[in-house]
């Protein structure tokens, strides 16, 4: 028995060793390093000099960071509710026993397997002020056109449209597999009891799909707070809407690798981590009120 114990310990450690080692070097230690850098002054490749909480104090009085956080929050509060709702509606439609489900599912999923850089470039072309197809269609419909890319009041909506378009396929698949696991008999029983479609949706569909819905909300929330690719491709520093479109991760990238004020960049990273943890905690707490685990 003792020998088995020893051998289990040896095998266990041997099996986890490669992953554990790499995770320590690539992920865990970097978190510590980043935290340390955020307390340092670091210019270029010079050695970090410890300066305490100076970066954090600067960050809280820095209008640029505040603006970037507001932009990102606004973007997130646009994309998550609209995107999740559209995904849910699409999933419900596909779950009504219609013909050609596989065909629809495939087409809706294509944006998920497309490189975000390419996608952003295509949307930038379609949103082009003078020659873009979207403004042309708006004009043809007799609506007023918008300066989608360079107007500070519009840019976040433009980015949100791209974000929503890109996430529906993924979320829909997860919600659809949640919907498919709901037994048909529940609806039949509700029908017998005389419950209408709306009542059925809120009393059967929503509670039973809530674990998948919760997963979808949490993951899109976190990924929206980290929006980068579309901002990088569309909101360059020469864009007049730059200030109103810059996201927090883009700001982080700029300080880390362009402006090369790496200590400050690390501070922005840590603040983002705190915001994400805060939102996740709040959502985890609130899930008890509405998520139904069987």
């Amino acid at each position: 028995m003792k020998r088995k114990h020893l051998s289990d310990n040896l095998w266990g450690f041997a099996f986890i060793a490669p992953s554990l080692l790499l995770i320590c070097v690539l992920n865990l230690w970097p978190v510590v390093e980043n935290l340390y850098y955020s307390l340092c002054k670091m210019k270029g490749f010079a050695k970090p000099v410890f300066i305490g909480f100076t970066n954090y104090i600067t960050a809280f009085s820095d209008g640029e960071i505040g603006q970037a956080f507001l932009n990102t929050l606004f973007y997130t509060l646009l994309t998550v509710p609209i995107g999740v709702l559209l995904s849910l509606v699409t999933a419900c439609f596909l779950n009504t026993g219609i013909k050609g489900k596989g065909f629809f599912r495939t087409l809706y999923y294509i944006p998920v397997v497309s490189a975000p850089v390419a996608v952003a470039m295509v949307w930038k072309w379609m949103f082009n002020d003078e020659y873009g197809i979207i403004n042309y269609i708006l004009k043809a419909l007799g609506l007023s056109t918008l300066n989608w890319i360079a107007d500070g009041n519009v840019i976040l909506f433009t980015l949100a449209i791209i974000g929503i378009w890109g996430m529906i396929g993924y979320n829909m698949i997860i919600l659809l597999s949640g919907l498919q696991s709901i037994p048909k008999s529940y609806y039949e029983a509700a029908e017998v009891d005389g419950a209408g479609a709306v009542k059925q949706f809120f009393s059967i569909t929503i509670p039973l799909v809530s674990p998948a819905l919760f997963f979808v909300i949490i993951t899109t929330f976190i990924s929206s707070l980290q929006v980068f690719d579309s901002v990088y491709m569309i909101v360059s520093e020469t864009n007049p809407a730059f200030q109103n479109g810059e996201s927090i991760v883009y700001l982080f990238y700029r300080y880390m690798f362009n402006v090369s004020n790496k200590g400050y960049g690390a501070t922005i990273g840590t603040l983002l981590l705190l915001v994400i943890l805060l939102f996740t905690c709040v959502q985890m707490k609130s899930q008890r009120k509405w998520v139904l685990y069987q």
């Binding site: 051998s7 289990d8 099996f15 490669p18 865990l28 596909l94 294509i110 490189a115 379609m126 479609a197």
Partner: protein, 274 residues
């Protein structure tokens, strides 16, 4: 509700079809634009189909930029990440799920921490590591951050926990060691989750922009994503060329998806619900 909609479900078809048009139109428009001349692409009102189908944007882009290298780098990065991450994640997941060893719970929690941290936090320390290892501007550098997967360990552990104990006990009685059990019993039973994790890993690597942008700054060492971002800086408003570039970059993964549809969709669905 089910019956109600089935009886008159044409509005559902109309709405779904409308959604499809919105989903597909950007791809269609980029393909159509890529076959137009610069002048035609800037016409107001725009033409829908190209007046004459021009292939020159593609030849322009491919001769001016090393697209073949972009392909090789992207898929080289994916293959290295897949080979390492699938093997070591499966090993760790098996140990965490089925071998009782000292400190197992605590070490598992330790491995989960990175899942809660935004990946940008790791990126500068990882870059410094790549610099120290002298692997920037190489495929190895591209692969580096993705060779271990917390998510993979988590997902595969869930799977290994569902395999019945009796199978393993019988093998132990027959004198099989842990290594043999892992290779001969556990891995063959794990094809589906391994394929899912593989697709996840490949897709993530293919879509990533920030790491390739930072790690590989030489043009011949770029990936499809970072190469395309570079292309935009060069061609700025020559849209037929830009669209040709994006079509080239998007096509391989879309084709792969159409071939392996079931695995792509199945993997996402299981990963989401666990």
């Amino acid at each position: 509700m089910q019956k109600g909609i089935q009886r008159h479900n044409w509005p559902v078809y109309v709405l779904l079809a409308l959604g499809c048009i919105i989903m597909v139109f950007p791809f269609l428009w980029s393909v159509l634009t890529s076959f137009k001349t610069l002048n035609e692409s800037l016409k107001v009102p725009p033409t829908f189909l190209p007046v004459s189908w021009q292939f020159s944007s593609y030849t322009d882009v491919v001769t001016a930029y090393p697209f073949l290298m972009f392909f090789i780098n992207t898929f080289g990065m994916i293959i290295i990440r897949l080979a390492i991450t699938l093997l070591i994640s499966a090993m760790a997941a098996y140990a965490f799920a089925r071998i009782p060893f000292f400190g197992r719970g605590m070490l598992f929690l330790l491995c989960l921490i990175p899942m809660m941290v935004p990946s940008q936090i790791f990126i500068y320390p990882q870059y410094m590591l790549a610099v120290k290892l002298k692997i920037t501007n190489s495929v190895l550098g591209l692969a580096l951050p993705g060779i271990a997967s917390t998510f993979g360990i988590f997902m595969l552990r869930q799977h290994f926990m569902t395999i019945p104990d009796s199978l393993e006990e019988a093998a132990i009685l027959d004198g099989c060691g842990r290594g043999r059990i892992f290779i001969n019993i556990m891995l063959p039973l794990s094809k589906t989750p391994l394929v899912s994790l593989g697709i996840f890993t490949a897709l993530f690597a293919y879509k990533d922009l920030m790491w390739p942008l930072i790690c590989n700054t030489k043009i011949e060492a770029m990936t499809l994503s970072s190469g395309l971002a570079y292309l935009q800086g060069q061609y700025t408003t020559k849209y037929p060329q830009l669209m040709a570039g994006s079509v080239i970059a998007m096509l391989p993964m879309i084709l792969l998806f159409i071939v392996l549809q079931r695995q792509f969709v199945g993997g996402i669905a299981t990963a989401g619900l666990k």
